[in-house]
Symmetry: C2
Subunit: 210 residues, 2 copies
Amino acid sequence: MNTYNEALQWRYATKKFDAGKKLDKETLDQLKEAIRLSASSYGLQPYKVFIIEDAALREQLRPAAWNQPQITDASQLVVFANDTDFGDAQIDDYINNVATTRNLEAEGLKGYADFMKSKITPLPAEVRAAWTAKQTYIALGNLLSAAAHLKVDVCPMEGFEAEKFDEILGLKEKNLSTAVIATVGYRSEEDDTQHYAKVRKPASELFETI
Amino acid sequence: MNTYNEALQWRYATKKFDAGKKLDKETLDQLKEAIRLSASSYGLQPYKVFIIEDAALREQLRPAAWNQPQITDASQLVVFANDTDFGDAQIDDYINNVATTRNLEAEGLKGYADFMKSKITPLPAEVRAAWTAKQTYIALGNLLSAAAHLKVDVCPMEGFEAEKFDEILGLKEKNLSTAVIATVGYRSEEDDTQHYAKVRKPASELFETI
């Protein structure tokens, strides 16, 4: 087994964190960089990521996440918030970033911009929002793997009330919505789950080669 | 920069593959294992993954993917197909797998099974399908990172007609639908894109720490 898959074997959805162990700045920065480097549709990164450290805010959010203790006990709470009104303006921002990063004229990228706009902007709002939400799952998957590589524990979570999160974090007025969340930190030694055998479908069931 | 993030820097959405270079079995098996170990909601893995090697089938699929050449030129085409009718039966399969893997009585897991059933099965079909589709994006993200670690190139693709893919692959009658696809292989030396600077939002824009 290579080190990548060894790290995946090591990780598990950590429910019980050691509340006394916090990520140091360098480790957190590396995880943020992994999120930032995540692939997304056309590279548009149609989301924003909130790193929540404030204890009072996490206390406030916890009831909206089935009162799960990792919300307050973990080192950080990460909220992936997808764009709910992604369109021409965001595509122009992206094109300007391409031009700056690659030292090109934005005008020369107009054809590509128009192509993306023709594919994305006419879609109904709920289709665009579903599409931006899916992109956050690539970043979430990358966070899980990057963290495992650094022996950092993560609990990915869908068990939360998005509307309450959005309200508490003031996301709606920013055209954002909570897509998925995760807590990062270090597993409690008392968490028995870490010793359980990992449950996955056998390859023969999950894959079909044609 | 750690090796994980170095691998992410190395990767890019490879459009031009070296059609003469194929993955060896061991490398492909490692990628499949990374997909298999991917996290998913409750660990349910509500999808199936098709590894398509057959040249004639790929020729047939290519027009349904904007005629993009990587469909036929890459070493393999990977189709992530999400469950479109996930419910009690699939949850029971999962519980049986937990019981077998951890040497437990399935009966003792009934409370957990009932909890998942109460959360998932009553949801409208389209909500369940959107939820299973999102899980495939975690696996896709993991494939991208695992491949980069092994210096294998991937092109993740949303530019395809899901209905045509479903029809050609006979997915509908299996309660599956094409959620996202990717091609894996090795970049062509002629692909200039590999030399372009990676475009990502600056951390100051993507993240907000509270």
